[in-house]
């Protein structure tokens, strides 16, 4: 932002924070608009109970893969500058990931239970 002495990071994320605050304002306006709308009562049985969900294994593998995907981002930014050695490093990394997913698949981890 020209004309101010604040750091660019502060002004950038200040802007992000401002958008966030304005979104809350928008939500309040929307709530205000519907104050006089008719109300309807819904009775449903309570549902807070222990569920058996079918994607436990996926969720556990996901945690590992999501973190490993994050590691690829800094690597991807500098990849073209470093060249072949970065490629070989990533080849090892992807081979490990591939082995991981093959192992999970082979052990029946990629199944809905």
């Amino acid at each position: 932002m020209p004309g101010t002495s604040t750091s660019p990071i502060l002004s950038d994320y200040g802007f992000v924070a401002l958008v966030l605050v304005m979104t809350f304002g928008l939500a309040l306006i929307a709530a205000g608009l519907f104050l006089r709308a008719p109300r309807q009562w819904i009775s449903a049985p309570p549902a807070w109970a222990q569920f058996r969900f079918g994607f436990v294994n996926y969720a556990l593998i996901f945690l590992a893969f999501d973190m490993e995907m994050i590691f690829m981002y800094p690597w991807a930014v500098v990849f073209a500058d470093i060249g072949i050695s970065a490629f070989l490093d990533m080849l090892v990394f992807i081979a490990l990931l591939g082995a991981g997913i093959t192992y999970a698949w082979g052990m029946g981890g990629l199944e809905w239970e």
Binding site: T23, I42, I94
Partner: protein
């Protein structure tokens, strides 16, 4: 432009984008098909739900809308038409768009009806399916653009669009984009069979916010796709924003049309598709793009 005017413009762009998205989706509605998630919420009445949580239920749509609005900040609509060019651009988009999932999960759990709690579980399963392949599609683009910034990614495509260089990544993005925006074949969390899930437990103002957020997320997914693969606002003759709008809605129409052509997938099938096909494909795409860059094809160093 002042900071406040700019941020208001970002939100206005989101509102207009969402409204146009909603209109476009109407065109693709099939008479007997499931309506999109943004079409079932009832604006006519406020709801009081017997066992609902006082804070979680109303927090849901606000959190979802906030995620979409925050992602809107870094979408470039022209050379100078951008909220802020954050250095971490696309990474920031990946992170904040997932607030939609958080919002649905909060409201679904908070409403405490069997249907909405089911929707909470389904949307988390959907997140587990789409995040990794979507992230791998982004990685290919970042490797070529050498930057996370959306503006730098658009500049890197001034010669050749990345859709030509990375067709696998583009297809990967289209499929995972449909998962991310909960459109047909992947609309399990908002399926009619569970009463629209969270939407069945919303009414009045929360239904309005859900409509904006869920139409906005499709708009954003298409806009980010245009930035990543179709050169964003670059194009001859027309001004940048016009190109951006054309590309965004063109992509959206393509995604909706392709999605309607496939039978809806259950959550289990979707997870299988993602982990057995899309993720290996994504890893392959990263390697292929790396090889292409090493061969010297792609945007040259600025």
């Amino acid at each position: 432009m002042g900071v406040i005017a700019t941020s208001a413009t970002v939100l206005a762009a989101l509102g207009v984008g969402a409204a146009l998205t909603w209109a476009l989706e109407r065109l693709f509605l099939q008479p007997r098909g499931e309506p999109g998630p943004a079409h079932t919420a009832d604006l006519g009445r406020n709801l009081d739900i017997a066992n609902s949580d006082r804070w979680l239920l109303p927090a849901g749509p606000v959190v979802a809308l906030a995620g979409v609005a925050l992602a809107m900040v870094v979408v470039p609509f022209g050379p100078d038409l951008i909220g802020r060019d954050l250095g971490i651009g696309v990474f920031y988009v990946i992170v904040v768009i997932d607030f939609v999932v958080l919002g649905v999960a909060l409201a679904g759990w908070g409403a405490d009806t069997p249907d909405s709690v089911e929707a909470c579980y389904r949307i988390i399963a959907q997140l587990i399916a789409y995040v990794v392949p979507l992230g791998l599609a982004y990685v290919g683009v970042i490797m070529m653009a050498r930057s996370l910034s959306t503006v730098a990614i658009v500049e890197a495509q001034s010669g050749l669009w990345f859709v030509v260089l990375q067709p696998i990544g583009f297809v990967l993005y289209l499929v995972t984009g449909l998962m991310q925006s909960y459109r047909a074949p992947f609309l399990e969390p908002f399926a009619v069979s569970i009463g629209g899930g969270v939407l069945g437990a919303s009414g009045g103002w929360s239904a309005l916010l859900w409509r904006i957020a869920l139409a906005g997320v499709l708009f954003l997914v298409a806009a980010i796709c245009a930035v990543l693969y179709l050169g964003g606002p670059n194009g001859p003759l027309l001004p940048g924003w016009a190109w951006m709008v054309v590309k965004t809605y063109g992509l959206m129409a393509l995604m909706l049309w392709l999605g309607r052509a496939v039978r809806p997938l259950s959550t289990a099938r979707m997870l299988e598709l993602s982990w057995k096909i899309l993720i290996p494909l994504g890893l392959l795409n990263v390697l292929l793009v790396g090889g292409i860059i090493l061969l010297g094809i792609g945007p040259s160093r600025p």
